[in-house]
C-alpha cells in the first residue's frame, strides 16, 4: 500500500464479503422454497427472499466497486484520496441504509414499507431489482455523488491514467443510469423500456468498464507487463463493449410492446456482446503469459484469470444462448434466464470484486505483497469450490430450463406452468446441492483470511 488513504477500502471490502454471505444464505432459502413451497412461510415468503437475494448482490457488488476505486484510484493518481473522512462517512451511511432497507423487506409487508417510506410522494417502488424505498434510492444517489466527488477530485488533481479514466467513466455511468430508477411512468411499455436503462446498461454497459479497469489494474500490478500494452487492450475492449452493449439493450425489447425493429437491433448487436468478454479472457491469459515478474500473490492471478474465463462463459456464451429473437421467443423468462444470470453475475462481477480483494486485502492488512502460502492455498480451494459449484448450478438450471421450454412451450400438447415445475423438481434439488457446495466454498474463502503462516517473499 503506497498511500495511507487507500486503507478506507478495507471496511468496504469487509462489508462486501459480509453482505455476500447474506446473499447466499437467502439464495439457499429460495432454492429450498422451489422444492419445499412453504419452507419458512410466513416468516420469509419467496418474493421477499428473492428481493433480499438480488438486492444484497447489487449492494455488495457496489461496496466492492467502491472499495476497489478507493484502493486503486489514489495509487493510479499518485496522490492521497481527496477526503478519507468523507469516504468513511459514506461507508456508514450506505451500510446503515442498506441494513435498514433489508430489515424493512423482512419485517414489514412490502405495501406497508411503501407507506412507511412515503412512496406515494414519488412512487418508485414495486419494480424488480429496484424495489428499494424511494428514500433509500435518494440515499444511494447521495452516497454515489459524494463518492464520485471524492474519487473524481483525486483523479483530477493527480495523474490521469487510462485505468482510472475508464474506471471513472464506468462509475459516472453507473450513477447516471441509476437516475432512471426514479422515472416510473404509468405506461407499462415505457416503464419497462427505461427500467432496462438501469438494469441492462449497468450490467452490460458501464459495469463492464469498471470490470475492465479493475482487471487491467490487477494485471499491471501482478504481471509487470507494460502499461501501454494493457491500455491498448483496455481501449479495444471498452470500445467493443459499448458498440455491442448499448444497442444490445434491444434484446430486452422483443416482447414488451416496442416496435418490431428492436428484434433486429437487439439480436444483431447483443449477439456480438460475447466478443469483448472473449477479448478479456485472451487479454488476461496473454498478460499472464508475458509476465515479467513472478508475483507472490498467486491467488489474485488465479481470480483474474478466472474472471476472464467465467465472464465469457456466463455472460458471453450463456447470454448468446437465448439472445436471438427467434430463440428468445421460446426461452423468455424461463430457467434459462436464471442459469445465465447466476453464471454471468458470478463470473463477471463477483469474481472481479474477489480479484481486487484478493490482490488488495493482504496489502491493506500490512503484508509486504501477499498472504502466506498456506492462506493462499485455502483461498484457491475456495476459488475452485465456488467456481465449479456455480458451473454445476448453471448446468442444472439450464437442464431445467430446456425441459421447461420444451414441456411448456414447444411440445405438441403444452403443459401448464405448475405441472411443468413439478416435472423438473429433480433439477431444483440438484441446484440446491450445488448452492450448498458454493456456500461451503464461501465459508472456506472467509476462513482463508484467518489462516496464519509465513509470508511468501517478494519476488
Amino acid at each position: 500500500m503506497q498511500y495511507k488513504s487507500q486503507s478506507v477500502a478495507k471496511p468496504y471490502f469487509i462489508a462486501a464479503i459480509g453482505l455476500f454471505i447474506g446473499q447466499i444464505l437467502f439464495g439457499l432459502v429460495m432454492g429450498l422454497q422451489y422444492v419445499w413451497g412453504d419452507f419458512l412461510f410466513p416468516a420469509i415468503p419467496f418474493n421477499v427472499a428473492r428481493m433480499v437475494h438480488t438486492n444484497l448482490l447489487i449492494v455488495w457488488l457496489l461496496f466492492g466497486f467502491m472499495g476497489a476505486a478507493y484502493y486503486l484510484i489514489p495509487e493510479e493518481a499518485e496522490r492521497e484520496l481527496e477526503s478519507p473522512a468523507l469516504a468513511m462517512l459514506m461507508f456508514w451511511i450506505f451500510l446503515v441504509a442498506g441494513a435498514l432497507t433489508v430489515l424493512g423487506y423482512l419485517l414489514v409487508p412490502y405495501a406497508g414499507l411503501a407507506k412507511l417510506t412515503f412512496n406515494s410522494l414519488l412512487p418508485t417502488m414495486g419494480r424488480e431489482f429496484l424495489e428499494q424505498p424511494t428514500i433509500t434510492k435518494i440515499g444511494i444517489v447521495i452516497v454515489a455523488l459524494s463518492f464520485l466527488y471524492n474519487v473524481g477530485m483525486t483523479v483530477l488533481k493527480g495523474r490521469k491514467t487510462v485505468v482510472n479514466l475508464v474506471l471513472m467513466t464506468g462509475l459516472v455511468g453507473l450513477a447516471v443510469m441509476f437516475l432512471f430508477s426514479f422515472y416510473n411512468p404509468d405506461n407499462l411499455v415505457k416503464d419497462k423500456f427505461y427500467w432496462w436503462w438501469v438494469v441492462h446498461l449497468w450490467v452490460e454497459g458501464v459495469w463492464e468498464l469498471i470490470l475492465g479497469a479493475i482487471l487491467a489494474y490487477v494485471l499491471i500490478k501482478t504481471t509487470g507487463v507494460d502499461r501501454e500494452v494493457v491500455e491498448k487492450w483496455l481501449y479495444v475492449i471498452i470500445a467493443m463493449t459499448l458498440i455491442t452493449g448499448i444497442i444490445g439493450t434491444g434484446h430486452h425489447y422483443f416482447w414488451i410492446g416496442t416496435p418490431e425493429y428492436w428484434q433486429w437491433f437487439g439480436s444483431v448487436f447483443s449477439a456480438l456482446e460475447p466478443i469483448p468478454f472473449f477479448m478479456m479472457t485472451v487479454f488476461a491469459f496473454n498478460m499472464v503469459n508475458k509476465r515479467r515478474r513472478e508475483h507472490p500473490n498467486k491467488a489474485a492471478v488465479l481470480w483474474a484469470l478466472g474472471t476472464g474465463v467465467m465472464a465469457f462463459l456466463g455472460a458471453g456464451v450463456w447470454g448468446f444462448l437465448h439472445t436471438l429473437a427467434p430463440v428468445n421467443y421460446y426461452t423468455h423468462g424461463t430457467q434459462i434466464t436464471a442459469a445465465h444470470a447466476h453464471m454471468s453475475f458470478y463470473g463477471a462481477y463477483v469474481m472481479i470484486v474477489l480479484t481486487i480483494i484478493s490482490y488488495a486485502m493482504p496489502l491493506l492488512r500490512g503484508r509486504a505483497a501477499a498472504n502466506s502460502n498456506k492462506a493462499q492455498v485455502v483461498e484457491m480451494w475456495s476459488f475452485w469450490l465456488m467456481t465449479i459449484s456455480i458451473v454445476f448450478l448453471t448446468l442444472f438450471l439450464t437442464a431445467a430450463g430446456i425441459l421447461q421450454v420444451y414441456l411448456q412451450r414447444v411440445a405438441d400438447v403444452p403443459l401448464p406452468f405448475m405441472v411443468v415445475q413439478d416435472k423438473i423438481v429433480l433439477f431444483y434439488w440438484l441446484r440446491e446441492i450445488a448452492g450448498l457446495v458454493f456456500f461451503i466454498g464461501l465459508m472456506i474463502y472467509v476462513w482463508s483470511f484467518f489462516v496464519k503462516g509465513e509470508e511468501t517473499k517478494t519476488a
Binding site: W233, E260, Y261, W264, L272
Partner: protein, 189 residues
C-alpha cells in the same frame, strides 16, 4: 526499405480489430437483409423502386473520392510533405461533408413521403443500415479532423505516421461498407 517492412500492417492492430468488429456488425446485417429479402421479394422490390439511385451513385462517387484523398494524404506524409498532407485530409473531410448533405436530402425526401423505420421490413433495413453508416461517416470525419489538426501541428512525419495510417484505414472501412451497401440496398434485385 526491404520487402518485409513493405508488408507490415498499416496502422495499429487495435484499430484493425475495431475495423473487423465494425465489418462484422455490418456483415451480419447484410446477411440478415439478404435472407429477409428472399422471403419478401416483392416488398423489397417495391421499396427499392422508391430509392433515389442517382443520389446513391453520387454518394458512392463522393466517398471513393474521399478515400483517394486519404491515400494521397498518407503518401504525402511519407514524403514528409506536411502541407500537402493537410490539404488532402481537408479534401477528404469535405467529401464526408458532401456525403452527409446528400444523405440528409435523401432522408428528408423519404420522411416527406411518409416512410420511416416502422413502415415495413424493407424500410427498417434501409433506415437502420444507412443510418448506422451515416454515424460511421461522422465518426470517420471526427478522426480525420483530429488527424488534420495533429498533422498541421507537425505531429506526423515520414518516420512517424502510425496514427495517420490507423485513421486512414478506418476511413477506408467507412467507404468499403458503403460500396457494399449501395448496390445491396439500391440496385440489386
Amino acid at each position: 526499405m526491404d520487402d518485409r517492412t513493405q508488408l507490415k500492417l498499416p496502422g495499429d492492430l487495435a484499430m484493425w480489430i475495431f475495423i473487423y468488429a465494425e465489418l462484422l456488425v455490418f456483415g451480419i446485417f447484410f446477411l440478415g437483409y439478404a435472407f429477409t429479402r428472399a422471403y419478401h421479394v416483392e416488398l423489397f422490390n417495391n421499396g427499392q423502386a422508391t430509392l433515389n439511385k442517382e443520389l446513391g451513385a453520387l454518394n458512392t462517387f463522393v466517398l471513393i473520392t474521399g478515400s483517394y484523398c486519404v491515400v494521397r494524404a498518407v503518401a504525402a506524409i511519407r514524403q514528409d510533405h506536411v502541407n500537402t498532407c493537410v490539404h488532402w485530409l481537408g479534401a477528404a473531410l469535405f467529401s464526408g461533408l458532401i456525403f452527409l448533405i446528400v444523405k440528409v436530402f435523401e432522408y428528408k425526401d423519404k420522411f416527406a413521403a411518409g416512410y420511416d423505420l416502422d413502415t415495413n421490413t424493407f424500410f427498417m433495413f434501409y433506415f437502420s443500415l444507412t443510418f448506422f453508416h451515416f454515424m460511421h461517416v461522422i465518426l470517420g470525419m471526427i478522426i480525420l479532423g483530429f488527424m488534420l489538426v495533429k498533422t498541421r501541428r507537425g505531429g506526423y512525419s515520414a518516420l512517424d505516421h502510425f496514427g495517420l495510417e490507423s485513421g486512414a484505414s478506418y476511413w477506408h472501412m467507412v467507404d468499403l461498407v458503403w460500396v457494399v451497401l449501395f448496390p445491396l440496398l439500391y440496385v440489386m434485385k
